[in-house]
Symmetry: C2
Subunit: 95 residues, 2 copies
């Protein structure tokens, strides 16, 4: 199992638009074969921080996701509403 944490800082006033755009991405990603979970979270102290926390059966599942039509269509649209690059970490479980 691998875990992904993808954290974005959203431009002022664009949170609703960003969340709306993620809906199709979330629904289609959850239908992918090797996806275990795919959820969007909002920071309690700073609502402009929106973070995907994802669980995949293996790295191959994640790679395939990043080649999917919904990923290639929606992720570039999301980047318009993000400040900077965002921060993505791909993890394996230690304990």
């Amino acid at each position: 199992m691998i875990k992904v944490v993808a954290k974005s800082k959203i431009k002022e006033g664009k949170i609703d638009k960003y969340v709306e755009l993620t809906e199709e991405l979330i629904n289609k990603t959850r239908e992918e074969d090797k996806n275990i979970s795919y959820k969007l979270f909002q920071d309690l102290e700073n609502p402009n921080i929106l973070t995907f926390i994802e669980e995949w059966e293996d790295k191959e599942g994640l790679d395939k996701h990043m080649e999917s039509e919904h990923f290639k269509k929606i992720v570039p649209m999301l980047s318009e509403y993000r400040i900077g690059e965002g921060e993505v970490n791909i993890y394996k479980e230690v304990n």
Copy 2:
């Protein structure tokens, strides 16, 4: 439900020691009433990045955890092996 992502960059050569120190913290935290899950992850590209991903029933459960004996004993010991402050986000679910 709230989610915590606590990311640390570990000093060179100190990963094993850090992981060893987290064991008691992990075991005791998992026994806490409002803890749903509490796991340690390692970044696939940069093994010096170690991150706790935690799930709590509510904010009260997390606050109580931070007042627990095991937290107050072990977390300051861990900070010796960390570069800088670490990065902690507390999240609520959006979707």
